[in-house]
């Protein structure tokens, strides 16, 4: 994903409150417990245990999860497509 910027992605995640549900390295507060912790995301497991872990799929998922994976718990989030690519880029920096 050219142009995607992980540092920007971290700020987007802090701003919209992803950490209300997920504990995310690099975001000090909150450290939500409702969804899975995201440390080690870069290891490349399936997204939500079901989707192929590809940058394009991930960027679509963090923006509008129910559209990509009907029935998933994660809701659509108020971010643009570009911001979604940045978020995906940040997630791929989270080593185990």
């Amino acid at each position: 994903m050219p142009e995607a910027n992980a540092a920007r992605g971290r700020k987007v995640m802090a701003r919209v409150g992803c950490a209300s549900c997920h504990t995310i390295p690099g975001i000090a507060w909150p450290q939500g417990q409702v969804g899975p912790a995201l440390q080690g995301f870069a290891a490349g497991n399936l997204i939500s245990g079901q989707l192929p872990n590809r940058p394009d799929v991930l960027a679509a998922y963090v923006r509008n999860a129910p559209e990509v994976l009907p029935g998933t718990t994660m809701p659509a989030m108020p971010i643009s497509e570009r911001e979604a690519r940045d978020v995906a880029a940040y997630l791929y920096t989270l080593e185990p």
């Binding site: 540092a7 971290r10 700020k11 802090a14 701003r15 919209v16 409150g17 992803c18 950490a19 209300s20 549900c21 390295p25 690099g26 975001i27 000090a28 507060w29 909150p30 450290q31 939500g32 417990q33 409702v34 969804g35 718990t73 994660m74 809701p75 659509a76 989030m77 108020p78």
Partner: protein
């Protein structure tokens, strides 16, 4: 990795004015306090300069200067007479400058009761006879250019109401009503924070004041009044869950049978800028995170975690709540 950031430090993008700058007044009542602060600061700089000059003389000055500085006259004049004159002048100046804080509000001014609770704010808009016209929580709407009187109370321990751009701090003391006036000169949102340690999640007890143009403000209040009379049941799953999961034991939604008063009123929760008392942006994701486990977000607050509910239920509750506008 760079320094960790937090969702609260990012709230500026959700509502303008976070973190609230302390010396950037947006109304007359914060304005006089801000001027006084700068004057005191300038005086302190002058006094520091004089003291450092005297110290310089004492350490490095010639014998003649030193003996003059050590004389009785300097002690009487510089140590007693000057402070009495300067501090008295400052007191008179300060009292006259901040006189606007103590004068009664214009008759007919809008009144709102704000009650500090562990760890959120109960808001009650009063009508002209002093009765509660509308309930809300954690967010206060006011008209630009009008003085609004806040009746500050506490339901439990001492809190302190502080919206730095609109006024100074005033304690909320159990059993007392303290009056505070606020006025905003420009439309916008102004962040606030509990300023008296009140236990556990005190640091996560924030507040938002939203100032609207008067016509817009009156439209919002009229809409809310009208909605009280007619809030048709949605008949949706979220509404049933709100009843069956017990949310209504603590939360009220006007115009429905849900009338719990222990926690924040949720009648307009969908319009709020923040969740959890001024700490999270308000969107479907943060709503779900808060409902699912508010304890992970604001440890010690009085809302239990609802991780016993299936994920679908949490989502449907969030969908129902975001419709409460």
């Amino acid at each position: 990795m760079s320094r960790p950031i937090s969702t609260r430090s990012s709230l500026e993008s959700v509502f303008k004015g976070w973190p609230p700058p302390v010396l950037d007044p947006a109304g007359p009542y914060a304005g006089s306090i801000s001027v006084l602060s700068w004057v005191l600061f300038a005086m302190a700089v002058v006094v520091l300069g004089v003291v450092l000059a005297a110290l310089g003389v004492a350490l490095f000055g010639g014998q003649r200067l030193k003996s003059r500085l050590g004389g009785q006259a300097v002690i009487w004049l510089g140590g007693i007479a000057l402070p009495i004159v300067v501090l008295t002048a400052l007191l008179v100046y300060g009292l006259s400058l901040t006189r606007n804080l103590g004068t009664p509000a214009p008759p007919g001014a809008m009144r709102v009761q704000v009650t500090g609770e562990m760890w959120w704010w109960r808001v009650a808009y009063l009508d002209s006879s002093g009765k509660v016209a509308l309930w809300d929580a954690n967010e206060l709407h006011i008209p630009v250019g009008e003085t609004v009187v806040l009746e500050l109370r506490s339901a439990d321990v001492i809190h302190s109401f502080w919206v730095p751009r609109l006024s100074g701090k005033l304690d909320m003391i159990p059993g007392r009503v303290n009056l505070m006036k606020i006025k905003a000169d420009k439309p916008g949102s102004y962040g606030g924070q509990c300023a008296e340690y009140c236990g556990g999640p005190h640091a996560l007890m924030g507040f938002v004041v939203v100032a609207h143009e008067p016509a817009e403000f009156r439209r919002i209040m009229a809409d809310r009044q009208a909605a009280l009379a007619s809030k048709p049941p949605s008949g949706g799953r979220g509404e049933q869950l709100f009843a069956s999961a017990g949310c209504a034991a603590c939360h009220r939604i006007a115009g429905t049978p849900f009338n719990g008063m222990a926690g924040p009123d949720l009648t307009h929760v969908g319009t709020r800028r923040t969740l959890g008392a001024g700490i999270l942006p308000n969107n479907r994701g943060t709503l779900m995170g808060w409902i699912g486990n508010a304890q992970a977000i604001k440890p010690g607050n009085r809302m239990p975690p609802y991780s016993v509910l299936p994920a679908d239920d949490i989502r449907d509750l969030a969908l129902y709540l975001e419709q409460q506008r």
